[in-house]
Symmetry: C2
Subunit: 479 residues, 2 copies
Amino acid sequence: MQTFRDRAAAAYDAEHFRRQGHQLVDQLADYLARATRGEGLPVLPWAPPAENVARFPGTFPEEPTGEFSSFMERVLTHSHHLHHPRYVGHQVSSPLPLAALCDFVSALLNNGMAVYEMGPVSTAMEHNVVRWMAGQLGLPESAGGVLTSGGSAGNLTALLAARQAKAGYDAWSGGSTAGPPLTVLVAETAHYCIARSTKVMGWGAGGVTPVPVDANFRLRPDALEGALAAATRAGRKPIAVVASAGSTATGAFDPLDAVADFCERHGLWFHVDGAHGASAVLSPRYRAQVKGIERADSVVWDAHKMMMVPALVTAVLFREASRSSEAFAQEASYLFQGQDTRRWHDVGLRTLECTKEMMALKLYTCLSLLGTRLFSEYVTETFELSRRFAERLQASGDFEVAVPPDCNIVCFRHTPKGLPASEWDALQSRLREQLITRGDFYLVQTTLPKGVYLRTTLINPLTTDADLEALMEAVRRAA
Amino acid sequence: MQTFRDRAAAAYDAEHFRRQGHQLVDQLADYLARATRGEGLPVLPWAPPAENVARFPGTFPEEPTGEFSSFMERVLTHSHHLHHPRYVGHQVSSPLPLAALCDFVSALLNNGMAVYEMGPVSTAMEHNVVRWMAGQLGLPESAGGVLTSGGSAGNLTALLAARQAKAGYDAWSGGSTAGPPLTVLVAETAHYCIARSTKVMGWGAGGVTPVPVDANFRLRPDALEGALAAATRAGRKPIAVVASAGSTATGAFDPLDAVADFCERHGLWFHVDGAHGASAVLSPRYRAQVKGIERADSVVWDAHKMMMVPALVTAVLFREASRSSEAFAQEASYLFQGQDTRRWHDVGLRTLECTKEMMALKLYTCLSLLGTRLFSEYVTETFELSRRFAERLQASGDFEVAVPPDCNIVCFRHTPKGLPASEWDALQSRLREQLITRGDFYLVQTTLPKGVYLRTTLINPLTTDADLEALMEAVRRAA
């Protein structure tokens, strides 16, 4: 009879792992070759949820069974293929294969990182990569921060620090009722996670005070005074302005310098949600887009968006490193025994997570081994590609763009001659549905004040002008 | 001159990836062989933070440079080795190599999962694995939930649902001031993330009402009425009781059935933080430890603790699946266009994260290919091992345990003959420091009412009785 020791020895057997690992590497390399060439597989294998729920049922055998390679083949086949050059959908990277290798290492080592001694290498890498990112933004030497699980968690972390710094009372220990109800000023086009963060913190619907945007979907600095007055009239104490770089739907970059001026004038915390666009600082040509970001009190920057690494790795960067400790405060004797709670190297003190992955490893390794120029040129090239795409759409006569792109997000719609404008919205939805169910392209859609638009993020470095011309043709054919 | 296209083609080259992948598999397999045998490497290579910060500096080259294998060798050498049988530290798993392979696949595919179409396979797997977990807990057919980035995020998610269900007012839209300030009753020994969650939500220090524990560090059900009365006197509205299964410091399991009775009587939400111990349901021998968990309104269960997969994968399970949608509510036109926001398959609606990893893949794959018996026996065996270890300590004459273990966490201290009790605390701290700086064992320490204790989690399935005898010997030698 097999004992548990036998089972465990088999499950952890290094030679078995070696065989499966080599099989998997070949399988993934073959897959990557096909996906990057865009050959022999669709961008996405559309199937309704119920079909995949039935394909991967929720019943598990008691004893070991099944074959790893064929199992993984089914996973590869039925997943979405982000390395396909015609993947132009959400702001999720087509990951660098080297970064995937790093996640593999992270998963095997599982160095949890709440305290330094559990993740000595990843903690050191995090410290240095966070400081490098702060430097790229132009933040002062005093800057610091952490890596966390995604932009939503990152924005919440930054807003907790803002609350602690600017409420005028100890909201952490005293609670929301220890002083006036708070609010942050934010463009009406900001990511939903900002309003969600304030609702998590118990500020209710008034926790965000919307600031109107201009025709280019950028926050209107001239509207900030009015928003501030409106918030105050509503009995709220404004503590911060959240600017987007860029906004999610259209990729618009709010005018950061003007927002910084306003925050300075009123003593407000200046937070930049740069989840997508903070990477613009890496491009000499486009860093002017985020001019003013160096004046922020806090910045959120997702490496899994415009730094080509897999989800999730979000940097929360603070102008003053000490703010990073103020976002949270707690005791846990078994973890942080009696020490100075500001010890930078026990990062669990400063993140929403206690345990987390070795997040820094992929970012640190890719920067170290691939060099920074790849990242810098990547930003420049995807931004350029988007400008050319927008120009081509505008020049076409049967497409229009919602707005000239600030970054690599392009919203457009097909307006075929003879079709009344009243039917444009329905057409875009139908077109998108047809394109994704056929699987030739993956793009998304969004509703803007002028109506429904197709939305593309040119985030795959392998996407070319020819792919985008083909997209226009595919849209025309579908229409 | 190299163009960006050349650079990108090189960085995404499938054959280069294949070569590096095969190299890495051999490197990791060799590493795993050494680590699992506990040969040729310490459990942890202790070095002060500054040393690792200098070893992995924050300067990056512009051009590609360096060699992958030697770089990774340095990462392996200076990291913590959780597969070493003498790793008996924090509640972080020694991951199944198969699970690491799955994370590798997840990282390359990067199927983000906020919406179904971005992660069709991982969404389906998540749906089924969450339902399977709910079934194991004994929750009814109506149960549902999500996977999220760690126990802290999971507990916050559950408490947001509790707030929405039990505040008696719409705390989400109305904010904390729309009704009386809230509180949850929780054992004074609970994980810090519970108090932290309530402080994030703006409930202040009174957001948790501590309930005393008994001599075994378990919540005292007879103290609940008193805690409820005290909270009410303090002007708080109690909405929930949070029970631990088990608590972090000592692994104590609160009496869930008694807490459930109390919650029923008072109409309170019953939440179980089973991050570590919910896995007890998998063991026929030990599932009685969590009797009553099937009556919970919500349960948090970390697969990266007692299910042998790498961090982070936490299930938040709700008795009524609809509660999972109520924790959050938002609109994001570019993501969730105009649909029923209760669509189960767009999981971003129900998690703190928007994008997340293909979390379900590792758990689903390991259950499918390794079978459930491995997991069931793993719980039984690590719990048994801990009981034997506690008995050996007690019988030794020069060790004592803080409390008979409820699970696989054992707190003990060395009490050598002749040493006055007043010096025991200092001794344990010194012992722990010596042991981890030598690197022969990794264990932690915790401060309990009776003083400082050494704390072990017997979470590595390869740890044997002989390793624990060796630990006792090492402690004696160090003393």
